[in-house]
Symmetry: C2
């Protein structure tokens, strides 16, 4: 691991001339040593660039001196995306002046990396458009981070994920060159799709300094239902039946019994704690059509054995129903302080099997496991609730997480639906991709970043690397 020499620092000061944007004090560095996942890793230096030219200068220096570079948005990653695991420099984009331009004629938004994702959608709404990707962190996470990790969210079922809305990028390559990928047109087949290669590459292939995002018309209306199931398996059938009946809900979220109980203990909403699952279904579109579709949803759910279907009559009632889902995360951390949030994803038809597997894993390893998530696209969020200080418990958690990954892959699924690999899942990459599949990815990394300076230690496992969550 390279250390930043005096000479190098002087060169950095020639690029970032405002010394206030060069952080070296230990207490400052500490703020950049963690994210929403595990572990703390101190960088040697934090830089706060405010222009593409500054990024170019820093990247060129880092490449010359072989210093690891870790781009960072707001640090909400659940997979360790921005963690400076090899020390080096963190690039913090928080001081970069927000650029957020909506062009209604081309139905696009042009954004700088530090813009909050929710602000993009809010601004698009003003013009009658929508930016669909809605990770639950949207109000606190930046589009830069969303682009790096290819964030998803509940609307993924109908509208896809971040990648599906990026049509152009300005990127600084690992050698400090500026390239522009894609552009302002929705159709573009000129050469390889570098846009979709870079989005989701977790900051390992380039630093995104601007993005052009596709917007779509905002749906006129939405309608929400909360469905109670005595039997979890029935909820799986309801999902399949609805989705093969010609209806594509904008959201389709599931909560298992453990979630429901946790919510009721945290903030009583009057949910029945004896049901095995709750489905929250949102339809969007023309008021006439969603009215008709909701009738079909209701009868389908009842036909497969739902106990009750509660349909919101207006937006206020809908918000009331969504409270149940929104309270899950705050509720479960009341049980124990440490939340290990996974996003292993299975083909939609395998949701009941995955639930069965998760139940087995929970019992075998004696862990506190709750399951909620985006049921419509098979993107479940098994969350393990534990106490990080309890080394023995954390070892059981590690084994359980490993088995969750194995189960998802055995069922034809994937390690990660929307959180990314980072350091949390890299030890399991080969299990899903095979030696050759992983190698083909590595070849791209090596061809683009021969000195391995961009976000090193992520995505690709180190030889013999294993998941470690315990401190002992």
């Amino acid at each position: 691991m390279a250390t930043i020499t005096e000479e190098c620092l002087r060169n950095i000061e020639a690029i970032i001339v405002n010394k206030k944007r060069i952080l070296q004090r230990r207490e400052d560095l500490f703020s950049y040593s963690f994210d929403a996942s595990f572990g703390t890793h101190l960088p040697e230096l934090v830089l706060q660039p405010i222009s593409t030219d500054e990024v170019v200068g820093v990247v060129k220096l880092a490449n010359l001196y072989k210093i690891p570079l870790y781009p960072r948005g707001r640090g909400t990653s659940l997979s360790g995306g921005p963690l400076p695991v090899n020390g080096g420099i963190v690039l913090d984009f928080s001081l970069w002046k927000d650029k957020l331009i909506i062009d209604p004629d081309d139905s696009i938004a042009v954004v700088s990396p530090g813009v909050l994702t929710a602000d993009i959608n809010a601004k698009a709404n003003e013009f009658g458009f929508m930016y669909p990707p809605d990770p639950s962190s949207a109000h606190v996470s930046t589009i830069g981070g969303n682009l790096a990790e290819n964030s998803g969210g509940p609307r993924g079922l109908k509208y896809g994920v971040t990648k599906d809305y990026v049509i152009g990028l300005e990127v600084v390559t690992p050698e400090g060159e500026i390239i522009r990928t894609g552009g302002r047109t929705i159709k573009n087949v000129t050469g390889y799709d570098l846009t979709k290669l870079i989005v989701g590459s977790e900051g390992t292939l380039g630093i995104i300094t601007e993005a052009i995002l596709k917007l779509i018309p905002k749906p006129i209306a939405t309608k929400t239902a909360l469905v109670l199931f005595d039997d979890l398996v029935d909820s799986g059938h309801a999902i399949s039946r609805i989705l093969s009946s010609g209806i594509l809900p904008s959201k389709m979220e599931i909560m298992d019994q453990a979630c429901i109980i946790a919510v009721e203990e945290y903030k009583p909403l009057g949910l029945p704690t004896d049901v095995e699952a709750i489905l929250l279904i949102e339809l969007d579109g023309h008021p006439y059509s969603i009215e008709e579709e909701m009738k079909k949803v209701k009868s389908t759910c009842l036909a497969v054995g739902a106990r009750e279907v509660i349909v919101a009559e207006n937006d206020e009632e809908a918000n009331e129903l969504w409270k149940a889902r929104k309270l899950v995360s705050p509720a479960i951390v009341k049980i124990k302080p440490t939340k290990i949030s996974e996003d292993a994803t299975v083909p939609r038809s395998k949701i009941p099997d995955m639930f069965k597997k998760l139940k087995e894993i929970k019992e075998t390893h004696d862990i506190n496991l709750v399951v909620f998530g985006h049921a419509g696209d098979g993107n479940l969020h098994p969350n393990i609730i534990a106490d990080q200080r309890d080394t023995e418990e954390m070892k059981r958690v590690e084994l359980a997480v490993e088995e969750i990954f194995k189960a998802a892959i055995e069922l034809g699924g994937t390690l990660s639906g929307e959180h990314g690999i980072g350091i949390m899942k890299s030890p399991f990459m080969e299990m899903e991709l095979g030696t050759k599949g992983l190698e083909m990815m590595k070849r791209i990394k090596m061809a683009w970043d021969p000195n391995n300076i961009l976000n090193p230690g992520k995505v690709f496992p180190e030889p013999g690397q294993r998941l470690v969550l315990h401190n002992g």
Copy 2:
């Protein structure tokens, strides 16, 4: 350029044991020497593999002996995709047994490379689903070719292109290894998105032997309008206004006056030949909502100066209206035998500017130019009608084509919206991508295919390469 030795041929015969699937006679080879673009290039050998194992064997040999490999579907490419420009071996997938499985529970189709694209949509329809990408060649082109070129079509405006529906691939790498990318889940962020890198890479990064495609619910109803504009610029305004009013039509096609005249001379439909443009607009969705949307479309068009809006009352009338658009291609080749079909694409708001530029180019170079295409997404099809035997005319055509590309890029657009680069547009790649952008693509090619055996001579320009359409 390597020649296939006797030894190499014996090795091939050990892989493709049925000699009927090894074609060597000149008359057989000739059938594989052209596609729907320009030029004839004889391969040395044509192989007709019927399994992934055979492909693996052939690719390994080709890599060993450094023989160019040219995968081929039905040869409908408009950019020279399958042309064996360096000789070598053509891999013809036409004898591969069709695999076309619809899994309604996961809303996916699993297909082999030789399946006709229209058959996928037809089969999906039986289950209430739709496979949206609809290149006009869908009834004669294979999904393998569509995947290689990332084909578009009229529905691209609302539904996107081929890439947007591919979630998993089986691929034989340029070194003959089998990898599986993505899978059966809609969300997948495990490592780099090799799926979307390979789709649209025009057969230069791997040979696709199986694909998993995402299906969506088939819309209940459609509604079509034909709109007449005295002024071409007004049609551009209509497009912008409709798309920023919250309506996303499933199709939005434009025909200029030259097209209309050609159609009326070819097969009189009673279209007024004194209008400057016709827009064909199709809405899909719930019958109630499209009824309401169509009213809005009509009033918007009239407000910006449309002469008349003809709304089809039923599917039969709609088919009648679409005839105008469908007859354009057969009509224009009656004028002169050679059709140079471009797909330069501009941001939607630049369509009027692009029309102006095209008019200038037409006059400057004294060429026969008609324009139609997918107006909603800026993907125009300027078609030059000429006679290939007229060397002097073809030289003017070359200059005109070059200027079309320049115009598109100057307006913030791209060389190709849906036909691909192939050999037809490779000389212009750097103009759009810049030296560095092109280099980053090349690095991937070199990292994956160090011996440059997969579809060599495509996408990347040879030093000093220029567009040549004339024979003299």
